[in-house]
Amino acid sequence: MTAFTMAGWRQSLALRVSAMFTLVVVLAAAGLGSYLYHAFAGEIERRDDIQLLGKLRQVQMLLGRPGAAELLRAQPDYFRDTMSGQENSLVRILAPDGTPLADINALHETYPLPPVAGVVPTLDAIRSWTTSTGAPGRVVAGSARLDNRQVHIVVARAYAERSAMFAGYRRQIAGAALVSALAAALLAALLLRRGLRPLHGVAEHAALVRPGTLAQRLEVKGAPSELLPLIHALNDMLARLQEGYARLSGFSADLAHEFRTPVANLLGQSQVMLAQPRSTGEYEDLIASNIEELERLARMIESMLFLARAGQDEVVLVRQPLQALGELGKVAGFFEGMAEERGLVFACTGDAALTVAADAALLRRALANLVSNAVRHADTGSTIALAAGRRGDSVELSVSNHGAPVASPHLAHLFERFYRADPARSDAEGSTGLGLAIVGAIMDLHGGRASVHVEGTRITFTLVFPAA
């Protein structure tokens, strides 16, 4: 039950905001009530204190009359009746030595004797006391003359009724705060329900998005401004998803197409061959041809798996400092025979001391893919330039060759899987159409990037390794 409530608290925005709103209303109501109560009570208490001083004054005047001392002695009851007036008034007249001359105390309360504050005491001289029933009381002492004698007058009062009134008042304030809290909670819940309605709209829209309907966007019109950033963010996400999804399904289609050709060849030529009795040589040719197709398929599968794994960061990099120029030389050496047959020459340039932090096998693979491309597409008799250099903190390895110019619209797509600038050359010489995609993936794994740049007939691929 507790867990449920806690989960509800954490999950429901409406509940949370309502609760906070209610809390604010309760605090405000309680604060206001408390302020008004204290102001009111303070005023009442001040008026009572002024009345208490008035009583003292009255007693002083009574004692100042001629014959007052005589009256006090001879007819104390009369004096008492004259003085007390109200039942809750307590008056005591003391001789300077403390002997009580009169004590009017109908309730038989005991109250403290405050310091005597002269003939005209101020409000500051008033002290508090508590009756035997727990009601608050106030007391003040002043001096007066009785038959040329200095006497002390103590006047006290108990305010039981006032306390009862204050208590009632406090209850009313608490009740009002409670009612306003309830009203606030209810109102907040209702208002939030209304206010959050656009969110439901967004949710309903979002619920309609399917892989096939990624082109749909959430409605921006009529949405409150607070929701706009969310809606825009969601729409941007949809756009990215749509793009990724389109690329992925395009990729699957391409893949199927790329597989279809070799499989069709395998199937077709094998069936044709089996339809008639053939010579051993013909069978051997068939099998060898089949092996070539199958090797191409196997290479494609290996490349696909590599890309899939690289995309999920499952390839383990073993980075080590490699001599950049040396790596270029190795790859150039690997392709030397093939380049020679096309009359191509490699020119490796760069600082021999330059090192690059990379995975040796992956770096060679990336370079080999670039050089393989260069050898295939370079003009006969031209030079393929391999260069290693430093730019800022990063190390750049580049492969460039002269060849048929690649139109700039193709450049941005060159690193995509199965993208070929020239569709007619799709099956050329064992190319899987994945070489540059693998180069891109290898650079992603290294936290670097691969770029391509065209200048006239010269095309340059650059691998940028950031400083480790």
Partner: protein, 230 residues
């Protein structure tokens, strides 16, 4: 002494048995792990080719059982896997396998690995290799045919040395790329073909007897013609 192939996939098992037998090995084929383990314990087996995806008792269990039994613990094991996952390879090698191949693999690659495993131990590098009328002085890096010196570049020599060292064995292009150029991935096959053509121009073209032969669909082999099939 023979090689034990434990493979449940019928076609794979059949071609492995046939291919290895034709490569000169005695072959025993088991279609599941339990039979394989039984044969390994009862017969004289010098190497096990083990598929890891087997029914009932999988390859890992077979491997663990082989290593646990003192009678079979020393038999080299080469495992075959279709899932080229790092964990798989690590697991196999940790369990005591000696080598592995990822399907699909070139058959000549398998044969080359098996030969390497069986030859394991101190391999004596010959300082002088003679094939037909060709003499290779490995230390001086000199090559002669019929007394005529042939000048080779460092890489041409490395390629020839590899082919000559393994004379009579068909070497796949991938193996050549890996051993000569340290390129351990399936690259453009034309690269190796071009490199071999270049070597042939110097080694074979000027002479009537050819020593480097293409095995279509498999790779290259270096041998004197008289030693080859009639």
């Amino acid at each position: 002494m023979s090689i034990l192939v434990i493979e449940d996939e019928p076609k794979t098992g059949d071609y492995l048995q046939r291919g290895l037998a034709e490569s000169g090995f005695g072959v025993r084929l088991a279609r599941n792990g339990r039979d394989g383990l039984h044969i390994a314990r009862e017969e004289a087996i010098e190497l096990v080719v083990l598929d890891v995806m087997l029914p009932r008792m999988d390859g890992w269990e077979v491997l663990a059982a082989l290593r646990a039994d003192p009678a079979t613990a020393q038999i080299p094991v080469l495992f075959l896997t279709a899932r080229d996952e790092v964990q798989d390879r690590v697991r196999g090698l940790e369990l005591g396998a000696d080598d592995y191949l990822v399907k699909p693999f070139a058959f000549v690659e398998l044969v080359a690995r098996i030969r390497t495993l069986l030859r394991r131990g101190p391999v004596r590098e010959e300082a002088q290799i003679c094939i037909g009328d060709m003499e290779i002085d490995v230390l001086m890096r000199r090559v002669r045919r019929g007394g005529t010196p042939i000048v080779l570049t460092a890489q041409e020599f490395a390629l020839l040395h590899l082919l000559a060292r393994r004379q009579g064995q068909v070497l796949s292009r991938a193996l050549i790329a890996s051993q000569v150029w340290d390129m351990n991935f399936d690259s453009d096959t034309n690269v190796i073909d071009a490199a071999v053509r270049r070597l042939r121009r110097k080694i074979d073209d000027p002479f009537p007897d050819k020593l480097i032969h293409t095995r279509r669909g498999m790779g290259y082999v270096c041998e004197a013609v008289s030693a080859a099939a009639p």
